[in-house]
């Protein structure tokens, strides 16, 4: 059941898969955004012991505002639960829960503690109105072994200001006390190897009624009383649970930032406590950011447009370039090339500061108005992302001057955004080679190993990027552990496939110091709409080899198509320069794997990706991913991989699936930044459906400069 979470920073200088600067940063960002201002936020309803909107142990039909991301830790008696909940759409929410039950007699218990993971979904059928209550239907623990399995339909109505009444019907666990009826027979056997939707059980078997009242005394204090239909049968027979009463009583205190702290008296004999913190990508950040003001647009001398005398004057040209370089540098932008004509200037510019790319374009435009001769009427800005010209933004300088103080959408309408292929100025010789390095401590984490549910290491990471030319980069990252308890993972999960990932414990234990990656990468433009990448070397923690990728992405298209093929050789466990070959304890890893991918921006904040191909272990299949994306760069999503690996060969969990959250550093710190951190929680680390990890896959680096994406936060152009 153990697994190491994959936490991955993406961006200019990112590390490798297991690296968890990302997680540390992600967790920090979460706390940052959650504990900070709660402005613009609707009141968030009370959360229960399951980390869902609810009373004490029972759910209510209350729904937090769209985008609310909530982290709950609760404990009562022998039960401890950590839950991450996300309001996916205004009506749909999803939760992931990791629970531990102490004093629980079970073959899988470790030191008497039984650990369990569960996923929930809730959907609001009816919104509360003058006469109608809010009605929510919920599936609890709907994937997995079903320890917490239950379904419910619940209604909540505010009777008087502050007083809410809730009533519902529960199946499964929630129908275990004094059933009032029954629908068919609820099966008990587990489907596959667990980990697939328990659809055969939903709303079947006995059902019971539950309900309760909540009274909101003021903004800060709420009291709850409920009748629970959960009999805690399993906890009573296998554990030390003493069910004394179905009535539970609770009190919650809400801090100004929305954080909830609750105390409970539950099931007659238990005392419980809970803390829930919230954040919301839509409200967490200082609106518009906190960075320095841009320089204003400089108006031209009215006669200047006709003065072309400078075009023959090398000093004027050199000084224009120097001024532009300096002006851009002050805003964290790097001028890599300038083509200066009498009436048109094209710049290639590298953005290493602004995570919202429209802002980088806007700041470049401003600098150009201050540095370039008056006769230059057409500005073409070509941002370069990892050496590849991402797009060409063409503006008339007159429009820039006229629209500086108008709504940003007006300049967007005038801008021409096209493919930069064949339009990109040559990089100037001074810009390359370019060397960047960093040395920083980071925290590496591993969760959900029952032997040690939380493991963490403090390590040092030395990273360097050496750009030999504008599109050829030598890149490396090395780590050295300082201390912690991450080593000592001894699990060797049974697997019916070559052990492409399940030997992670050996890599962690022996890799100190470790070369995370050491690669030479080439990024290119094959033709209009076509981008390429070839990466050679030690690609990731476990594999060396060659990775080649091609991406088709028209500048204004919502659709992109990609293909990737990889040749891999397994690295030595110590992660130095050695290769151990592809023979593992459970089979031979194929030399080649690869995928074709389709990416699509559905609009309304949803993005989908489909990858079809051959995975590391040689299994064939597809990964479907759906993400809710926010204009400021936050994403919350889920993925599932289905391959031809039989469930028995895959092992516990049946197939690979997980949820992932990506938090832009800039949004969390209110400082422009192109990095973001990715936290992935997958049900289990297994060998089926595993993909190679390669830095700088093309799509994510390019789409931010393309039309559907950049237009979402175009308001930052003038910021």
């Amino acid at each position: 059941m153990a697994q190491v979470d994959r936490c991955r920073p993406r961006g200019i200088m990112r590390g490798l898969a297991r690296t968890s600067t990302a997680f540390a940063a992600g967790a920090t960002c979460f706390l940052f955004t959650s504990l900070a201002e709660a402005r613009d936020r609707d009141p968030i309803p009370n959360f229960n012991l399951y980390g869902l909107t609810g009373l004490i142990d029972m759910p209510t039909a209350e729904v937090p505002s769209d985008g609310t991301l909530s982290l709950t830790y609760s404990s009562f008696g022998d039960n401890a639960r950590g839950t991450l909940s996300f309001q996916i759409t205004p009506r749909l929410s999803g939760s992931f829960r990791y629970a531990g039950i102490s004093n629980f007699v079970h073959p899988a218990s470790v030191d008497g503690i039984y650990y369990d993971r569960s996923f929930d979904l809730r959907y609001q059928l009816i919104k509360e109105s003058r006469y109608l209550p809010s009605v929510v239907v919920g599936l609890q623990d709907f994937i997995g072994t079903g320890l917490y399995g239950g379904e419910y339909v619940v209604a909540t109505k505010e009777l008087f200001p502050g007083l809410k009444v809730t009533g519902g019907l529960g199946w499964g666990r929630l129908g275990s006390r004094k059933p009032i009826g029954s629908i068919g027979v609820r099966p008990t056997e587990i489907l596959g190897e667990g980990g697939i939707p328990t659809y055969d059980r939903w709303f079947r078997g006995d059902f019971s009624a539950f309900g309760g009242l909540s009274y909101q005394v003021n903004d800060r204090l709420q009291f709850q009383v409920e009748y629970s239909s959960d009999n805690y049968d399993l906890e009573t027979t296998s554990g030390a649970f003493d069910h004394g009463s179905p009535f539970n009583f609770g009190a919650s205190y809400f801090f100004k930032n929305g954080t909830q702290v609750s105390l409970y008296h539950a099931y007659g004999n238990e005392i419980g406590a809970q803390v829930t913190i919230h954040t919301n990508p839509r409200t967490a950040q200082i609106p518009g950011g906190n960075e320095e003001a841009p320089v204003p647009i400089k108006l031209r001398n009215p006669q200047g447009a006709y003065d072309l005398g400078w075009t023959k004057n090398a000093t004027v040209i050199a000084s224009a370039e120097a001024n532009l370089t300096a002006a851009l540098e002050r805003d964290g932008l790097r001028l890599e090339g300038l083509e200066l004509g009498a009436t048109k200037a094209s710049v290639r510019v590298r953005n290493e500061r602004y995570g919202i790319f429209s802002q980088a374009i806007g700041r470049t435009v401003r600098a150009m108005t201050r540095a370039l001769p008056d006769s230059v009427e057409t500005f073409v800005i070509i941002p370069v992302s990892n050496g590849a010209a991402a797009a060409a933004f063409e503006f008339s300088r007159s429009d820039i001057e006229a629209l500086e103080h108008e709504a940003a959408v007006e300049i967007l309408e005038k801008a021409q955004i096209t493919d930069a292929f064949g339009k990109t100025p040559r990089p100037n010789s001074a810009a390359f080679p370019d060397f960047k390095w960093s040395l920083a401590p980071y925290i590496d984490t591993s969760f959900f190993d029952p032997n040690q549910p939380v493991r963490a290491d403090l390590s040092l990471r030395l990273k360097a990027d050496y750009w030999l030319t504008s599109n050829l980069a030598l890149s490396g990252s090395m780590t050295k552990r300082i201390g912690g308890n991450l080593t000592g993972i001894t699990r060797e999960d049974p697997t019916g496939l070559p052990a492409v990932r399940t030997d992670y414990g050996k890599f962690i234990n022996e890799g100190d110091p470790a070369i995370e990656h050491l690669t030479l990468a080439h990024y290119g433009r094959l033709s209009k709409d076509l981008y390429s990448r070839v990466t050679v070397g030690y690609l990731e923690q476990m594999y060396a080899g060659v990775s080649a990728e091609v991406l088709w992405k028209p500048v204004t298209s919502r659709l992109a198509l990609g293909a990737e093929v990889n040749y891999v050789q397994r690295r030595d466990f110590d992660q130095m320069f050695g290769i151990q070959g592809n023979t593992t304890r459970t089979g031979i890893i194929p030399d080649f794997n690869g995928h074709i991918s389709a990416y699509y921006d559905f609009g309304r904040g949803f993005h989908g990706q489909l990858d079809v191909g051959r995975y590391l272990a040689g299994d064939l299949g597809a990964t479907i991913s759906v993400d809710r994306e926010f204009a400021n760069g936050w994403t919350v999503g889920a993925y599932a991989t289905f391959t031809d690996t039989p469930f028995e060969a895959f092992g516990e969990g049946s197939f690979d699936k997980g949820i992932r959250i990506s938090i832009p550093i800039g949004a969390a710190l209110n400082t422009p930044n192109t990095d973001d951190t990715e936290l992935t929680i997958r049900s289990l680390t297994r060998d089926g459906g595993a993909r190679l990890v390669v830095n700088h896959r093309l799509y994510e680096h390019l789409r931010g400069y393309h039309k559907p994406e950049i237009a979402k936060s175009w308001g930052k152009f003038w910021r």
């Binding site: 940052f32 609106p287 841009p294 108006l299 709504a407 390095w437 401590p441 710190l669 308001g715």
Partner: protein, 225 residues
């Protein structure tokens, strides 16, 4: 001096304790971002309330020949002197030494940058002439902001402009008679009342305006036109 906003100290310390600050020459590492946050946070705590003294006004006026103004962020009890750095066809942009700017048209604030929660732009084509005419009237008014998601939203208002009493404006190098004007605005967002003191030539010598849900009221007073 207007301090940049930052996260509460506890959070910055937490980030620091996670050990993400490092060294290197990359422009974009987490360490740099956090150290900026720490610095601005420390600065914020040192000088939460800043009042501009008469000495500072005199010094600035004598050293800088450009138009000068005083800005007062009421919610932060923070003042700063600003010098005009650009005039784009009547939109005049003033900057603080900390690289925060305010743009005015005819003395009416139309935008800000670097304050956090900035007014990105506004449509004063209807309101400005009414206020400048120093007579009563009804006018439309539009304010555009970015939300936390970095998406633009617009607040539309209708303002009832009223005449007030004559005022003698004595501030910095300005000593002129003006007329107080009041705009009571209702619309998409919270209702607010802006006040202006308008010179006979229509220039707004001092203004107290609602600048959005984040900054609320900001006063801007010209010290030299």
């Amino acid at each position: 001096m207007i301090q940049r906003l930052a996260r509460p100290a506890l959070l910055v310390m937490l980030a620091g304790s996670l050990g993400l600050a490092g060294c290197g020459n990359t422009a974009n590492d987490m360490g740099t971002a956090i150290s900026i946050a720490i610095k601005s946070n420390v600065a914020q705590r040192r000088g939460t309330e800043s009042k501009i003294t008469q000495d500072q006004v005199v010094r600035t006026l004598s050293r800088n020949p450009n138009p000068i103004a005083l800005i007062d962020l009421e919610t932060r009890k923070s003042q700063s002197l600003m010098a005009q750095i650009q005039n784009n066809r009547g939109y005049r942009t003033y900057a603080t030494p900390q690289r925060q700017t305010v743009t005015v048209r005819g003395g009416m604030i139309t935008a800000s940058r670097g304050l956090g929660g900035d007014l990105m732009s506004s449509n004063v084509k209807s309101l400005l002439p009414v206020v400048q005419s120093r007579s009563r009237g009804i006018a439309d008014y539009e304010m555009r902001f970015l939300n936390s998601e970095d998406k633009t939203y617009t607040l539309h208002y209708t303002c009832a402009v009223h005449e007030g009493a004559p005022v003698q404006v004595v501030s910095g190098l300005i000593n002129e008679s003006g007329k107080a004007m009041q705009a009571i605005c209702t619309g998409d967002g919270p209702s607010f009342t802006n006040t202006y003191v308008v010179a006979p030539d229509g220039e707004i010598l001092s203004t107290r305006q609602w600048m959005g849900p984040f900054n609320k009221y900001i006063a801007f007073q010209q010290l030299r036109r």
